[in-house]
């Protein structure tokens, strides 16, 4: 099957007086039509920068340095600003981190939809608009009357559903969701993710889910990419990543998650994530890696396919996936 989205060597730097912050470096992955693809990483790993870059929403001092973002055969980075504006929402849409706080407090829910639709050249009569908005709200499990409410009259979960409905209003082929449920209660988190699942089935989009919560991502996506210090360190099918993580960082990350099995098993990862202004030489994880060898300090490991569909960037992982 041909991928709907191919990201190749995506590199984004933030240019600061102290030098470039290498937020995203050489990120390559592809997503298939209707696939759920997860990117998991801790704060500062560059995962949100990837989300913004996919929609070309990086603002100065940030800049996409190089790479390709090929959506349905066309490279978004080759577009001019006007084409990109038309493509956004219509072909690729974003549910941003804290999206629910981005609703304009003095505009009713309906106005948010009108703005989005009109901005993309959807010209209809008032009644037609109302019909479309009601359908969109229904898709995310909200009543049509919600259209006439102001954001402050909605709960956090409802606001997040409105944001999802806005993002799917033009039925994009790819939906990027960056921490769509952080700051929501667990029960509401589940409800919002269920909504996202139902919506995805209906419009048949591929979803890129970005977050820090390995549990939530693992329960939702088909494949996981693990990001550390601006690079992908491991990519593979969810079940395989969870049961047999190959990269030492993935292993440590999974081991640090609190479970409902053994109690008192708290294993943090020693040390701190590296500065992206001065990333360590060699593998960025080597200062915290329990199994690092001399080669890791000098030579940066490349992301290689060590077995079918499993990609790992680690010198210690041999072909076939043994360490």
């Amino acid at each position: 099957m041909r991928p709907i989205l191919e990201v190749k060597d995506l590199t984004v730097y933030y240019h600061t007086p102290a030098g470039p912050v290498r937020a995203v470096e050489g990120v390559t992955f592809s997503v298939h039509p209707q696939e759920w693809f997860g990117i998991v990483g801790e704060s500062g790993s560059g995962k949100s920068t990837v989300a913004l870059a996919l929609l070309r929403l990086i603002k100065p001092p940030g800049r996409i340095e190089r790479g390709q973002i090929v959506l349905d055969g066309r490279d978004l980075l080759a577009f001019d600003e006007e084409d990109m504006r038309n493509y956004r929402l219509a072909q690729i849409a974003l549910v941003a981190q804290g999206a629910m706080n981005s609703l304009n407090p003095v505009k009713r829910v309906r106005d948010h939809f009108l703005l989005a639709l009109r901005d993309h050249g959807v010209q209809l009569g008032e009644q037609e608009y109302d019909r479309i908005i009601a359908t969109l709200l229904k898709r995310v499990g909200l009543r049509p009357e919600v259209a006439h409410l102001y954001p402050h009259e909605l709960s956090g979960g409802m606001k997040q559903r409105v944001c999802i409905a806005l993002a799917i209003s033009l039925e994009p082929k790819v939906l990027v969701a960056d921490e769509p449920t952080s700051a929501l209660d667990v029960v509401v988190q589940w409800q919002v993710m269920e909504t996202l699942r139902a919506v995805q089935r209906e419009i048949g989009a591929a979803v890129i889910l970005i977050g820090h919560d390995m549990g939530l991502i693992a329960q939702t996506v088909d494949r996981i990419a693990v990001m550390y210090a601006g690079r992908l360190v491991e990519v593979g099918p969810t079940r395989e990543i969870l049961t047999e993580p190959l990269h030492p960082y993935t292993r440590a990350l999974i081991a640090s998650l609190p479970s409902l099995d053994g109690r008192g098993e708290l294993r943090g990862i020693a040390g701190l994530p590296p500065s992206l202004l001065n990333p360590p030489a060699g593998c960025a994880f080597h200062p915290r890696c329990p199994v690092a060898i001399d080669r890791c300090r000098m030579e940066r490991p490349l992301l290689r396919e060590v077995r079918p569909r499993r990609w790992v960037a680690c010198h210690l992982v041999e072909n076939g996936g043994t360490t």
Binding site: Q189, Q191, M193, M214, G215, Q219, A252, P258, G264
Partner: protein
């Protein structure tokens, strides 16, 4: 006499002339911390459950509408200078956001120097420095990487551990930790919770761990109190509450945790089933009735008392109405049944 005790505290916000709608943030809550048998209790609830109100009441930052919070037998409102000073030293707090407590113009040393000076913990500079270094080492911070720096030069996890070090410096008897790790990454969360755990085990500090996260509560605490809209719905030993939740709301909470395990599907509301569709009638009712698939007519018109399931377990749900009723004051007794083994390492 308990070191710190909340007796049937109730907190109502709003009301009065200008704010007509009243919100009951916390209903009849009782808990006690003993000096002789330190406890590690988690209070778990979603937003609006009253868990932060509880923390603020116990710290004397809020006045209860009714009921009382007592420190060594004296109501916080009636503490005199000496007693208040001792309270401020023995009952410490760690809050959610480790950014807000720092003054960006001072080096981080300041947060440690201040309590040493205020409580005259050290006679001279050398002793003061030694105390600071000891506290840092105890929370796993390297002295040379911490002292002499400004708050922005430390990571969120370091700042949060520094707050625990500060609390430690005062050798408190009770630590109230309100969402101490909710803004910290997974890999650091374990380290910080580990610091809290060793504080309890090695220094005999009672910890009240307030959180929305059932998994970390399960990992570190011995006892758990589950709050829903200001009411205790379930309390007891953490293993049994989390593994065999009795209250439908606790079941919903446990089922809503996305676990990174392919063999444990994320059921969410499916773990519980469709609500029975009952609505409250009258002013008293179970707060969970509208969402509960097992709701009975009695749940619409009575608020359930706590029923005792076992010596160390209580649940506020009419499904268990065959069991003996415990009064809210006895919630303390339920938890105290565990307190003797409080310093034990969890297996």
């Amino acid at each position: 006499m308990s070191l710190l005790e909340a007796r049937r505290v109730r907190k109502v916000f709003g009301g009065g002339l200008w704010h007509r709608s009243q919100v009951v943030a916390l209903e009849d809550f009782s808990i006690a911390f003993d000096e002789a048998s330190p406890s590690f209790i988690a209070v778990v609830g979603e937003s609006g459950s009253g868990k932060t109100t509880l923390a603020r009441l116990l710290l004397g930052l809020l006045q209860p509408t009714s009921g009382d919070v007592c420190y060594r037998g004296t109501s916080l409102r009636l503490l005199h200078r000496q007693g208040r000073r001792r309270f401020l030293q023995e009952v410490q707090a760690v809050f959610q956001d480790p950014y807000e407590v720092y003054n960006p113009f001072y080096k981080v040393d300041h947060v440690l120097e201040l309590p040493i000076r205020n409580f005259r913990l050290a006679g001279d500079r050398r002793t003061a420095r030694a105390l600071m270094e000891q506290a840092l080492v105890e929370v796993g911070l390297r002295v040379e990487e911490t002292l002499g720096r400004y708050p922005h030069q430390l990571s969120g996890g370091q700042r949060q551990r520094l707050m625990i070090a500060r609390a430690l410096l005062l050798r408190p008897k009770v630590l109230i930790a309100d969402e101490p790790v909710s803004m910290v990454d997974a890999s650091l969360r374990a380290t910080i919770l580990g610091s809290l755990l060793s504080l309890h085990r090695e220094h005999g500090v009672s910890v009240l761990y307030i959180t929305h996260d059932l998994t970390t509560a399960y990992q570190v605490s011995h006892d758990i109190v589950v709050l829903y809209r200001g009411v205790v719905v379930e309390a007891g030993r953490v293993e049994s509450v989390v593994r065999e939740p009795a209250h439908p709301y606790t079941r919903l909470l446990v089922g809503s945790i996305p676990l990174p395990r392919p063999d444990r599907p994320w059921l969410g509301e499916r773990a519980l089933g469709q609500p029975a569709g009952l609505r409250p009638v009258g002013p008293r009712f179970c707060k969970f009735v509208d969402r509960c698939p097992f709701a009975l007519p009695i749940c619409q018109e009575e608020s359930p008392p706590l029923f005792q399931l076992s010596p160390d377990r209580a649940v506020a749900c009419f499904l268990y109405r065959e069991q003996p009723v415990v009064t809210n004051d006895d919630l303390t007794v339920v938890l105290r049944n565990r307190a003797g083994t409080g310093a034990e390492a969890p297996n």
